[in-house]
Amino acid sequence: MDLALSLIVLLPLIGMLILFAFGRRIGEPGAGIVATVAVAGSFVIALVLALDLFSGEGSVETVRWFEWLPAFGVEAELRWDQLSTLMTLVVTGVGSLIHLYSIGYMHGDARFGRFFAYLNLFITSMLILVLANNFALLFVGWELVGLSSYLLISFWFERDTAAAAGKKAFVVNRVGDVGFIVALMLIFSVFGSLGFDTVFDGAHNGELTGAMATAIALLLLVGAAGKSAQLPLYVWLPDAMEGPTPVSALIHAATMVTAGVYMVARTGAIFEVAPIAAATVAIVGAATALFAATIAMSQRDIKRVLAYSTISQLGYMFMAVGAAAYVAGIFHLMTHAFFKALLFLGAGSVIHGMSDEQDMHKMGGLAKKMPVTFITMAIAWLAISGMPPLAGFWSKDEILGVVFERGGLWQVLWGVGLATALLTAFYMTRMMWLTFFGEPRWDEGIQPHESPKLMTIPLVVLAGLSVVGGLVNTPFKLTLEHFLEPVFEAVHLAHAPEGSVAWILAAVSVAAGIIGIGAAIFRYRDRVPAEDGTGWRLLNNGYYIDDMYAGVFARGGKLGAAWLAFRFDVRGIDGAVEGVGSLTRRVGGWLRPLQTGFVRSYGLAVVAGAVGLLVWFLSRGGL
């Protein structure tokens, strides 16, 4: 067990080391195969290990690697429970598919081997994140996925935009990390340990109360908002689309960005005692969902549509975990991983087929040219739009149901979620329509073609998962909920309504989806509207929030820093230091004329000194 569990993390690590060392020599497609095998190996092991848990016989396991930071009461220790199992399976499962896809997608890239090394690094980091048995190790994984994200976003570093986007992603994530670190400070000061068991048991037993609980939870939210691209820290994710598309699919849709959701779910015991913070999580999630959805409606870049869509969907998940519907949140996390990865990979396939064209206004009519891509993406489209019985329907519906069920002001959030569902259907339909239907609007010389098998196979598999993935947790059979229940023993899970209310809610949300789809088809059926009104521009530029950040923090910060560096530091502080030095030197110069060269003035000095001494001594005794 120990070895097997360790191997889940170690296989990708070994893959990474091999590829870092020999990646160039192994070359193409060997490097991709090594990486894929490593991740697939992890998946298989995880699956085998998971069987026990699935059957309900297995128990929570921990594996201690080595003594790590005794001062914080933590070891390098993995935790194998239902939640981490599920996350591991999603990460390695979707990860393997995307690795496979990448072999085709990255064909011909000069740094093919390096790309797969980074991918393996990401998988390793993500597994550390989800398998960690304490906050410190979680934080290690948390930061390492940030590193992988940085490396992969700016993989094509020759492009200035890619390099800048990578840096931006890392820095914005770090802003969230400040919240995380401060949360860790508080946690450690309360519990004297960063181990999960100590902390969660303590929180459950009432050691955490009042303002402290709220503070910790809110700070964790800050960290989660950074990693999961929630308001107000979402700005890095759209830019992250500068990375190769498989990266967007894997990291910026399916796995890494969901780390925030995972973390909130994992720390449910803390949010349990901090209801205000939990509500804040839900509100942030709902706001983000709606906000990002409106922006997604206006994007022309196919990947940016998906990026904002991801932000929006993550908002759903936040809404769920904020409402204590952890299972629903994790469930949506899983289904979203399937269909959003599929959408991204499909988009990648389109971009690949269109010779790197990403502007949807220059696509159209691709359905015939790329049938597999089209069909699989269409499934994802319907899934994300919440069409039954596809995966997205079940998970989204559960979230909306739970929120509705909590009553009171929560129903406002339900309204927001519903509106978002409508918008989601609208913008996804718009995307599909602009891409696959209508007249071709391709630039000259572009010959769209279907992608190779290596790329389409993962599409098909993911499409299958998008269809059936939702069945693991239907109101008729709550398999996932029962599976995860032991993890959330300490919290009062919120549940979806049952009976007629459930049916009505489902009908309403499906209706919203259909209205959204219908509206989009109606609008884009015949022609591509200009989309350049003031409102569109506002949306297209994401309400200019990113520009505002750039102005205030980047440019303003730089101006301030420049003032500090070149005025205050050089003139002020160092000026004072140098001033003392030069003043000393100058005083020396000023004094020199006193040594006149005239004997008589020297005599005067001697006599004056003598008189001074005489006065002193006579003052001591009198005549």
Binding site: W68, E158, R159
Partner: protein, 511 residues
């Protein structure tokens, strides 16, 4: 008596330096000095393995009296606080020497200066007699002064003189403090003494502690450097030759923090406790200020220099957090900063040797022509940023979390330093390494050669090792810093806060 290994660690470089001077052949200077420093490293490693970790006291003690009336004598010893710094010193010197092949004139004098510098630094870490400590402290300035002043860059003289004068100014007050201290205790201890261990047995009045803390502290603050005494550092770093910068950042700056921890906390516990807010505020300002100022630097060496101000702020914050985690973090952060910033300077030196400029705007897109170099730089930058799995993380983590209970407001403010570190280093990386190649001269640059790889690899290995498995180092440090805390608790009414004891948020800043 056992073999005086500590004296040998000081004597070996001196012997090497004299040897280099006496053998009148320039081409032998490098091999000779590297051999000498490797032998010293061997000794240091032996020391590391023979050291009994888990013990708080001094080990390998050597003690003999020199001059009874003054109470001065040769007293060396190593404990958990100094051991790693001694080893770090011994480790960095061969590497710094190997990175000095671009020194072509007055080679022998250069190598000798480096080796004398090594002896001086090692002596500072080992000395347990305040006067001997001061002798090493001050004598060390001379070789560094020559290294900057002779083999430095354009404005080297200004930088060298500034370095010398500024630090000497600080030491002047410390010297007065040391002499006064020696007399203050003579009634209690039956005669003047400069022996650190004996001095620990004396009780000083609160006022005396306060003034002495100031005298020692100013000197150490300049060396660290603590804001606002930092302005000599960018100048010295920019003008110093690569090896000079490496040593300066790698170990020289640690002397100040080491002094604060070794002497100020233990000899003047009451004053230390009283002055915690002052030091903490300066430390936090240093962390944020150094980082902010680093962002906009146009000279990569200057940027790294300001990053040192920021990183050393963490050390000071950790030390004055007065918790075991904070102190451990402070010490380990010293070691880590020595490795990462040392390596950063080595890398900057490598590119400087190729292009003879340090202006960031002169580069751009280097990753295309020098992928390995870019990778090494990025690796080091991330270590410096404090990425988990690399060494920088451990120290920052310990300091931040360890200082929360005693200094909550400061710890929270300091946490923002981690954002800024990412900003200045990654932006610098972006400007230097990514994008298209903009300057033609960069197009033909060669990637790392064998010598450079030999320089980088051992440091990288240590960076990863300490990042992944810091426990052996922490085991060495912990007992000694705990002993310091115990002493403070014993001498003052300060109580080291116990983690896991609070349930509410500490609202007041600094309490």
């Amino acid at each position: 008596m056992d073999f005086p290994i500590l004296s040998a660690l000081i004597a070996l470089p001196v012997a090497g330096g004299l040897g280099v001077l006496l053998v009148r052949r320039d081409e032998l200077a490098l091999p000779l000095s590297i051999t000498s420093s490797l032998v010293t490293l061997g000794g240091a490693v032996w020391l590391l393995f023979e050291f009994e970790s888990g013990e708080a006291g001094f080990q390998f003690v050597e003690k003999s009296t020199w001059h009874e009336p003054w109470g001065v004598g040769w007293h060396l010893g190593v404990d958990g606080i100094s051991l790693l710094l001694v080893v770090l010193t011994a480790f960095l010197f061969p590497i710094a020497l190997l990175a000095s092949t671009s020194v072509t004139h007055r080679v022998r004098q250069y190598m000798a200066s480096m080796l004398f510098l090594q002896a001086g630094i090692t002596g500072v870490f080992l000395a347990l007699d305040l006067l001997v400590f001061f002798i090493f402290w001050e004598a060390m300035l001379v070789p560094m002064y020559f290294i900057i002043g002779i083999w430095g860059d354009e404005r080297r003289i200004h930088a060298a003189v500034k370095f010398f004068l500024y630090t000497a100014f600080g030491s002047a007050l410390m010297f007065a403090g040391i002499l006064s201290l020696g007399f203050l205790v003579s009634d209690q201890l039956g005669g003047p003494t400069f022996d650190f261990v004996e001095l620990l047995g004396a009780d000083l009045t609160r006022t005396a502690q306060f003034w002495l803390f100031g005298a020692f502290g100013l000197s150490f603050a300049i060396k660290v450097p603590i804001f606002p005494f930092h302005t000599w550092l960018p100048d010295a770093h920019v003008e110093a030759p690569t090896a000079g910068s490496v040593i300066l950042a790698g170990v020289l700056l640690k002397l100040g923090a080491y002094g604060l921890l070794r002497f100020n906390l233990t000899l003047f516990p009451e004053a230390s406790v009283d002055l915690v807010p002052v030091l903490a505020v300066l430390a936090v300002i240093g962390i944020l200020y150094g980082a902010i100022v680093a962002i906009v630097q146009t000279d990569i060496k200057r940027l790294v220099a300001y990053s040192s101000v920021s990183h050393l702020g963490f050390v000071v914050l950790g030390v004055f957090a007065l918790t075991t985690q904070g102190l451990q973090g402070g010490v380990i952060q010293m070691v880590n900063h020595g490795l990462t910033t040392g390596l950063l300077f080595l890398l900057v030196g490598m590119i400087y040797e190729r292009r003879h400029t340090r202006e960031i705007s002169e580069f751009g897109g280097l990753a295309s022509v020098m992928p390995l170099f870019a990778g090494a730089f990025l690796f080091t930058a991330f270590a410096s940023i404090g990425l988990p799995g690399l060494n920088g993380f451990v120290g920052e983590f310990f300091v931040l979390i360890g200082s929360y209970l005693s200094l909550p407001g400061y710890a929270v403010a300091a946490a923002f330093g981690v954002v800024l570190a990412a900003v200045y280093l990654l932006w610098a990386y972006q400007r230097m390494f990514t994008g298209e190649i903009t300057v033609e001269a960069n197009r033909g640059l060669g990637d790392l050669n064998l010598r450079e790889k030999v320089i980088i690899v051992p440091m990288a290995v240590l960076i990863v090792f300490l990042g992944v498995y810091p426990k052996p180092a922490l085991d060495i440090i912990e007992p000694s810093v705990d002993a310091v805390l115990e002493r403070i608790e014993e001498k003052t009414d300060y109580v080291v806060p116990e983690f896991g004891s609070t349930t509410d948020i500490a609202v007041e800043v600094g309490e």
